[in-house]
Symmetry: C2
């Protein structure tokens, strides 16, 4: 333990009072910030917004951490689980000077304080929560539950960092938080930093007591011991207890926790101890709204749920409330804390962290400052060779896994893969040639690829995979989240919040770009025939496109080579959420690497080789597709058409970058109107075979000239346990149905080719009957059958694994 | 404890072997079900699908529960958390006879066994998981994490019921499961039944060990003690241990747990003990894939992750695997278990539960059998009086809360409200006049409305509110889930799974209709200006409409009276998911109760009194709206138009039942094409003010004649902490912008009323400036200002509470 002299507790107390004063001021005051005059109704904001209840504890923890940081030069990021206590976090950032450095218009003096107060939750001002606009913050406190997983994500591969994570007892009831405690099983004390959870039991959520505040202390201790921690319980501030006594107890607990962390890290790093340690955690029991009004209008407020938001309402019109507010504010003795100019007094300043050690200024909380670009290995060694003809059958995600293996080798300390136990199932397991799954628990001889250090973290919780990667990215690193497509909806709301974080960050000048969040969704709707209906849902794409076009990107690579190109592009990008949907089942490789690069760059291309159009003439019909399986069906349909209607001119279009479908005025990747019309024609029927729900294509092409002529086939919520081709037939996305659509939509074919349409329908019946008799698909619709390639077995490359392996 | 003679353990073992045999048979066998001939490749299914790993433990627990049910006549519902072990659950249902009773084509004999095997995971057959098609099941095992919360939901107000809930150690890592353990804090031993969690530590998930299987037993015990349980750990079956020894240990633990439950209930019900009890739970540690192949191709399988799905692959083509399969099957000694006709032998039958006590046949798992319709109290006493004129300002959800209060009084034991601590925030707190919040923890004098019995359950987890209501509904009761609109996305995936459950159930003849799942979403996007961007998201509606039209209903009541009518309709319905979005902030009442009834019945109506059209003439423009706030803005816009363009004929349409917008061929509530055209015209511009993302209206009206002339304003992802009217301006949904839209879209106005458009734009600037200066909205855009009513203060009814109360 390094010491730099001890900070006296009265300084800690002074900081705490100052932060509390500034917090209350933000909630209430429009004017008279320093209270140099008696408070009048005109000094009060017209709308009183904000969350006081959690704020004094947030400030308390901050003040005490400052002391330890000064004494030990500790590298600490502060995570406010109850980030809705925004005034507190902002107050501390202003006190330590960061706020004024980043926002010059809010100086660290009386004038600045005035502005600080006014802007809070004010139109044109700042949000009421710890938000992207808040220095030092990487956790929004609006949707509760993600503080602890963010804290763990932040310290991975960050051996000197401690995240001090304040968790509210309301938040502790959420699902994600409840399982986040188990993340200590993945933390490597050698190469990762430390998380110090500080569970603040203030007893109440919005309108109810909290569970953890009302269980016996024995259960509380057992629970956190059971979660694998070494808990310390500090309680204080009740019944008017002198805060100085609480300061003593809490500081002791905090210092001991820091000692424990140092000891654990020393044991692992120096002494080679490999047993999973019991990391410290603190339970801090304080009154909700501590130091606020005890009783308002005859009802108890401090230490009840009534302290949750604004303890004194209607202050402009209620003289008694106004008087209570003034008494409350003056109780912090602002005259001792701020000088004549409204600057924090010198004794406060002298004993506080400076520079990057200030928690508001810690560069880990503005991770783009620390971002090192990934070294991207060449794709070529992994590209599937199609030089002797298209069609080599491979598992696309397995090909990607080989490139990811190289990527991990070249970026051993700032790239990770997170997943809910689906990395191998999604065929990325070649990465285990060069890395392992992080695991600090006990191991058995039969275990494979488990080690203290590993680039892969797998826990059966999509929420944790999401939250870990968020924390990892926001602290300046790179990563990938791979999941089954259907279950990614589990993190819909976390995606929302992260997308909103990125949307807001774009307007915060001092936030540096971070690496994009990239999803690789596999085991998708068209290949979950074995797991059935519960596993069949392609709706995440619909969810994603509700967020601002500036942050969302959606890719549906049709084959392995395009997947490689797409992944490379996504992992090099910044400040986006990228969604890649790609199959893991064997499928034909359609493009060479060079073609895939060109296709990826364009996002949407005509594949002349897959269509039948004559150069220089408008086609009779456009067959478009997006997604690997729809692409195969669309191609197979064109083969039938070629044979049956030899004079029909079919343009074949594949879409890999879905947002190209939108207009360029709506999405940065959108095609300009003329370009879209040139591709999709202004008036020819377009049959669109789509991976997801058809309405999404309609939505994206809504403004297009030819919109009313775009006919989409996709998933229409028909599913069960059956065969792959039966799934396509159930949803009218099979090749036969696409041929029927072509006949139906091209006016000149409707009558003359009614017979073909009938034959196609007969084919469907026959295939369904075959499937029900044999329990598998007829050979003529399996894999590359029906595609314009030679026998795939004659192709280079070939399938790696076609066993019965349909994991999970 | 009631005893009916003891069932010998060899009978339990025989049942277990029989269930295991039937499970393996389902995964592998197409023919030769009774193994009366040597196994040949032709007997094997072409595609080997299913999950073996978890199945033997599922069967073990079932067999042992049967013994206790026989001995004690216990009323037990079995919940298979690892419901992907579908073959096990199906096997037990066939063994106990339920399967054949419900599916006559699968008799309980050799022929039936053959069909049972063939149909599993076979095209046209049954799903691979415990699904709606599975007798006795109320929990799908595809998306893991919801077993325990379903178990708790099922036993609420079900004092005789025990749910035996098997939880996989993979599932135990999920977020929802991790917080579900805390539900024991809400279970009233007097009026609720009991949940017996049986955590099966088989050690592995898909490809990894599980966390809970690899922590020391001391931590395991501490964890569940901390969660408030009394844990018992049973371990066995490892290293070839004789199953009979395991049977003894497990049966003892199970019997003790049942004894504990009886003792706890007796203490509470007879002796009046009120302390929260430590309910029993069991940790059952068994090898994954126990009794399956130990080694395959030289690699260990039993007791490793390799046993997860199909331990022996490619059996048709691999003679060694075929031989292993035959040995495995014969190891269960089927000749002792099934007679010459393939019926379970008599000694098995004699000692098993009969009738409704069979877990497959327990009526609680087919809740519609037990469903009692709600007694719906009259709405009239709560209707807002508009007899002296429209416009009375009320908080709509508060009005609803008063009706819910009556509803609870009239239905004291089969209706509940679930929420994540937002019941009071959403203004439903009048229900506390007649009920309380269920709470078994300690209480303080300052607490309000906490009691052992209460119709409201609030825990800060949307997942738990969702799961509890699912369990409650599926066992034949009624309820309501109220949440903030933005955070309902947390349960997107649970909604998916529940909607899929309903979609599938519709095709299962013997499943009786259950009460609908009704969401009341309040604190919605347009009134979260104080909480900011994280709280602003109306996208749940988009998510919901991806599911089948047969199960989803969406309502946007514009005022309090329409909300009453809508809620009454939803709570009386069956087998739907209803989503109601309604405001909690004071807003004008627009319709009388009778008008609201008529409006609700129609779902969409022309409001002549709010428009300016001349009878018998087509209007110049249609102003349509859906949602309370958009309705106010649309009406205010029409008032401006009336003043400024007196000769413009405006039709005013309000949509309360959103699915009316879809075509009648697409949704049962859809308007027929002609009816839609009659309302929205075939060619006049429609300006649509919408609550949610505009694309949803486009999506629903996609096939309408006048589609290209429908112009939608709604939320476009612009949000922050600001004022209500500023939120509308940010998203171009304010009255001034709607007027500008009208001018822009009606060709004859474009030039002649360019000045009006400019003035409207000036108004917007002026209002933004006002807001930024004053921190609140200008009086002329607050509440009913601008609506065609007299001064609202002169209205009957009036506001209940307009303080600064913007909870959370």
């Amino acid at each position: 333990m390094t010491t730099h002299g001890s900070v006296p507790l009265p300084v800690v107390d002074a900081w705490w009072r100052a932060a509390n004063y500034l917090s209350v001021g933000q909630i209430y005051l429009l004017d008279n910030a320093l209270l140099r005059e008696p408070l009048t109704p005109a000094d009060i904001k017209p709308r009183l917004l904000g969350h006081w209840g959690t704020t004094p504890a947030l400030n308390l923890v901050w003040a005490h951490l400052n002391k330890l940081i000064v004494e030990r030069s500790s590298n600490v990021v502060y995570i406010a689980g109850p980030g809705h206590g925004g005034p507190g976090v902002v107050a501390n950032a202003w006190l330590d000077g960061t706020y004024s450095e980043l926002f010059h218009h809010v100086p660290r003096d009386g004038e600045g304080m005035q502005k600080l107060f006014r802007q809070f939750s004010f139109p044109g001002g700042i949000p009421s929560h710890a938000a992207p606009e808040t220095p030092g913050s990487i956790n929004e406190g609006g949707e509760l539950g993600y503080s602890l997983v963010h804290a763990y994500g932040a310290v991975l591969d960050n051996p000197s960092l401690i995240t001090a994570c304040v968790i509210g007892d309301g938040e502790a009831e959420t699902a994600t938080l409840a399982t986040s405690w188990h993340l200590n099983k993945f933390l490597n004390p050698v190469s990762d930093g430390a998380v110090l959870p500080i569970l603040n039991l203030n007893g109440y959520k919005i309108a109810n007591p909290t569970i953890l505040a009302r269980i016996p202390e024995s259960e509380l201790t057992a629970l956190f011991t059971g979660y694998g921690y070494s808990p310390r319980i500090v309680s204080g501030g009740f019944d008017g207890e002198d805060p100085m006594l609480v300061h003593e107890r809490f500081q002791a607990a905090l210092a001991e926790a820091f000692d424990d962390i140092e000891a654990i890290q020393r044991a692992a790093r120096v002494d080679g101890v490999t047993e999973r340690p019991a990391w410290p955690m603190i339970v801090l029991r304080t009154p909700k709204g501590w130091t606020g009004p005890k009783v308002v209008d005859g009802l108890p407020v401090e230490n009840t749920w009534r302290a949750h938001q604004v303890p004194l309402s209607n202050v402009r019109d209620n003289p008694e409330h106004l008087a209570q507010l003034e008494e409350w504010l003056r109780g912090y003795r602002p005259e001792e804390l701020f000088d004549d100019q409204g600057r924090p007094v010198e004794f406060l300043d002298g004993d506080q962290p400076v520079g990057d050690l200030r928690m508001s200024a810690n560069p880990n909380a503005n991770g783009g400052l620390l971002l090192r670009s990934l070294s991207l290995p060449p794709l070529a060694p992994h590209a599937v060779d199609v030089s002797r003809g298209r069609g080599a059958v491979v598992e696309p995600t397995r090909i990607l896994g080989r490139w990811l293996r190289d990527l991990i080798s070249e970026n051993p300390d700032n790239f990770r893969i997170f997943g809910p136990d689906e990395v191998a199932s999604n065929r990325l397991d070649d990465v285990y040639d060069v890395t392992n799954k992080a695991w600090q628990g006990s191991t058995l001889p039969t275990d494979e690829h488990l080690a203290h250090e590993g680039r892969v973290i797998e826990m059966l919780s999509e929420n944790l995979a999401q939250g870990l990667l968020e924390g990892y990215l926001l602290t300046g690193r790179h990563g990938l989240f791979t999941s089954y497509e259907a279950f990614i909806h589990i993190i819909d709301s976390m995606f929302n919040q992260y997308a909103k974080w990125l949307e807001s960050s774009a307007h915060v000048e001092w936030r540096r770009p971070v690496s994009s969040f990239t999803y690789l969704l596999s085991s998708h709707v068209w290949r979950q025939d074995h797991n059935g209906f519960s596993h069949q849902d392609p709706g995440f794409l619909d969810h994603v496109v509700n967020k601002k076009a500036s942050v969302v990107r959606v890719y549906l690579p049709p084959d392995a080579n395009t997947l490689l190109v797409t992944a490379e592009h996504c992992l090099a990008s910044r400040d986006y959420v990228n969604v890649i949907v790609a199959g893991k089942q064997p499928t034909a490789t359609l493009l060479s690497l060079d073609e895939a690069r060109a296709h990826g760059a364009r996002g949407v291309s005509v594949w002349e080789w897959a269509g039948t159009e004559k150069p220089g003439e408008e086609p009779d019909v456009v067959v478009a597709c997006a997604g690997d399986i729809p692409t195969v069906e669309a191609m197979a349909a064109v083969q039938i058409v070629k044979r049956e209607i030899p004079d029909l001119s079919v343009r074949f279009i594949n879409v890999v970058d879905l947002m190209r479908l939108q207009d360029s005025t709506e999405h940065p990747h959108g095609l300009a109107a003329d370009d879209f019309d040139a591709l999709f024609t202004r008036d020819k029927p377009v049959i669109f075979a789509f991976h997801g729900y058809p309405s999404l294509v309609h939505r994206l092409t809504y403004r297009r000239t030819n919109h009313s002529n775009i006919h989409v086939r996709g998933f229409k919520e028909m599913g069960t346990t059956t065969t792959p081709f039966d799934m396509l037939m159930l949803n009218d996305l099979d090749r036969f149905r696409i041929v029927m659509d072509i006949v139906h939509r091209v006016p000149r074919l409707r009558v003359s080719y009614a017979g073909l349409s009938q034959r196609m329908d007969d084919e469907r019946y026959a295939h369904r009957a075959y499937t029900r008799e044999h329990g598998e698909d007829a050979p003529d619709v399996v894999g590359s059958a029906g595609l314009p390639f030679a026998d795939p077995s004659s192709q280079p490359g070939g399938v790696d694994d076609t066993g019965d392996d349909n994991a999970r």
